[in-house]
Symmetry: C3
Subunit: 338 residues, 3 copies
Amino acid sequence: MKKTTADELAKFLGARIDGDGSALISGIAAPEDAGSEDLIYMDATKHRERAEASRARCVIVAEGVALKSKTTLTVGQPKLAFAKAAGRLREAAPIAAGRHATALVDVTAKLASGVSIGPYVVIEADVEIGANTEIGAFCFIGRGVRIGESCRLFPRVNVYAGAKFGSRVVVHSGAVIGGDGFGYVYGEGEYVKFPQAGTVEIGDDVEIGSNATIARGSLGKTRIERGVKLDNMVHVAHNVCIGEHTIIAAQTGISGSSEIGDHVVIGGQVGVADHCTIESGSIVGAQAGIPTGKKIRAGETVWGTPARPLARFKKQYAWFERLPELAERLRKMEERTE
Amino acid sequence: MKKTTADELAKFLGARIDGDGSALISGIAAPEDAGSEDLIYMDATKHRERAEASRARCVIVAEGVALKSKTTLTVGQPKLAFAKAAGRLREAAPIAAGRHATALVDVTAKLASGVSIGPYVVIEADVEIGANTEIGAFCFIGRGVRIGESCRLFPRVNVYAGAKFGSRVVVHSGAVIGGDGFGYVYGEGEYVKFPQAGTVEIGDDVEIGSNATIARGSLGKTRIERGVKLDNMVHVAHNVCIGEHTIIAAQTGISGSSEIGDHVVIGGQVGVADHCTIESGSIVGAQAGIPTGKKIRAGETVWGTPARPLARFKKQYAWFERLPELAERLRKMEERTE
Amino acid sequence: MKKTTADELAKFLGARIDGDGSALISGIAAPEDAGSEDLIYMDATKHRERAEASRARCVIVAEGVALKSKTTLTVGQPKLAFAKAAGRLREAAPIAAGRHATALVDVTAKLASGVSIGPYVVIEADVEIGANTEIGAFCFIGRGVRIGESCRLFPRVNVYAGAKFGSRVVVHSGAVIGGDGFGYVYGEGEYVKFPQAGTVEIGDDVEIGSNATIARGSLGKTRIERGVKLDNMVHVAHNVCIGEHTIIAAQTGISGSSEIGDHVVIGGQVGVADHCTIESGSIVGAQAGIPTGKKIRAGETVWGTPARPLARFKKQYAWFERLPELAERLRKMEERTE
């Protein structure tokens, strides 16, 4: 942790400060776990008591909140400001330091300055890695891969041959980037493998969760645009394109050639079939299923399998819940009219 | 396998014995595959023929079952007794033996007596590992991790910095324990990472399946209490708490801050959204979806998305199945009343 | 890539050739990315313009399609022919070359000629590996495993002790083959592990996706018959049998002891409970859920949870969509008849 003062942090966050601006801040915590130098935040008035009872001296709050005997930093979005403050206060724990003697780095690989390589890493021929990127233990970086600057690959990530990463990409343990897509053609009683000869491109500031899988294109590319966040065990098939700043929760699967726009929010365990279009700004509820070729319009919120607009789903579902009652009303009317 | 006699095994299981108590038992098997010294069990009378046709001489049976020319061990729960007998008869195959020369163990790590470390293991600084724990090949044990006694980590398990394990914990290949949770705050058109600075604690006798992922807390802890069993590819998000002796089948995901009680049974591919409460003794059917903030009451059985009590689901579903018929009855009545 | 001519390729594919038979072909591509020596295909007349605009000189087409200034190879199934042509034109990139000095191969292991072993591989005692099989970096091959000829294990695959593979099996990164099944018996307030003492057998020409898991039998075997294709993150539980040339899409889970026939097609995120029977030639739609013990008849197509015949599902679902309207009609009639 880097120490700072409430005043300095207020300036960094563009916050209004009330109380002791010289108070030292050296960490972040939940209200219950905080020491006096830890920063906490309060984003709803129902948490006022937790904040007041905390040992923390400095609290990030929203407009209109005063806390007894605390130094408060008032901002528009307390949780956002807290996240930014944390990014400043915490140093990311190093994933690797220097270049471990057991790392097998092909002589043709080009490593920029400040690249760290953990133990038992394998880096194949013609790889290029940008400055200050960290590669954790047991990572496998296939032939010809390009990785940008300040990326962080946690221990045990596989990047297949030819994949391209932007900068500041974070990949968690067990993820597999650029493996073969699942493409076969059925003929004469068996499946013949369709060539999986394309590549995968990952934009800047993408984060990929543990045990996620992203397939290379069959012909052409799979593309994950900048700022995309993928949770654990997300599966992205061949030739999918995911637009900027889209976020996808755990265990969701996106089938081949589907196109997902920018700023889309997709819940957990969603299934998107092949050749779908999910336009920018739309929201897909958890466990929804989107059938082959379906288009979700920009800004729409959908739920259910097959997915439909949320308002419609809710109306249909409300009647589904009352089906036994409907059936009983029908029965009574039949009696009456006979 | 350790050899024993039917008499000794009956004493160990608290079983009543009929037949030859000196019969040797040296293994376990399915009835069809058993040799004469293998133990089998029979938990339903419909399997009587399979048991009688088996070469096995000793059979664990329930009260009231006599088998021709077999030595029977009569107990209340034959399958349970068989499982216990197997635990006594079978020696677990070693995951590692001694401390392999290629294991990279930081000099500050404290390994108790009888710890085995497989090849190409990485153990970082300040790790402590209890007596007789086995760490398989390619495991990565991050800085400051605590692992109890007699744990078994199969090859290729990642334990991130700071995680704490009890004793007799079993973790299967590909599991990732203590990775970052999926927390971001949206602001100014992009996602800012919320700090994932907490820890994860795993109780005694927990078993974690292959390729499962358990995230550390964001602030605070993710807790898996003792006796919990998680199947393959189960995903547990940050700050989740799973109570004692709860069992969760494959590919289920539990979102952030949800609390699951003791002795809960959760089927496969269930999705639990964030901030849910699933009280002790409840049962969640496979593929059910539990929406954000929902509470499942103690002892309740639920199914469907959104999940509701099973009896209600069944009633609603029965009418759903008859919807075309209901619609036809309505149409006829409209004809009649016009 | 191996160079060939249009004439030679036409002979290999059994295609009729129109145009310049001496045209050289040295690769495959999508129409937009193709160079003049790349082969493309066109399987629907709507793609005619893409094909005509391509720089590719040779195009595989269906009967009745003529393309201006192209050499065409006319076949019954253009996509199938293209896949076969790709198999001939492309050499699979090597996964490993020779036997890397860091590979730990037990002295009792038997490696046939042409076996390649990547860096940091662990091969335990009594393993046998057939000719020309490639084992990628970080693979773990447990005691007594048998692997056939010309298999390809991508980097970081775990094969537990005792598993048996046929020939030409392909396994992608992160897959875990032969781990313990999820079997416990509940008694006296906790779960006792049921023995997971069986094995797993994988037939010829099977392909297994990244991060997939296939459990060993508890007693007896888990079997994946020849030609089966499993996508990423597919979970196969203990004692499951999957018949020949069955294909299963990503994130699907098959629970214990279920039997799946030959030539079955299972979509993504499907859940098959335990002891189900899915007969040959049936089709299970994405996200469907098949309850315990259920039988799907040969050739049937099912969807939904619980799964039912597709035609029935569609009819029920159509009325579900119209539930608000049905309810309104019912209300009006109640008014009228009062």
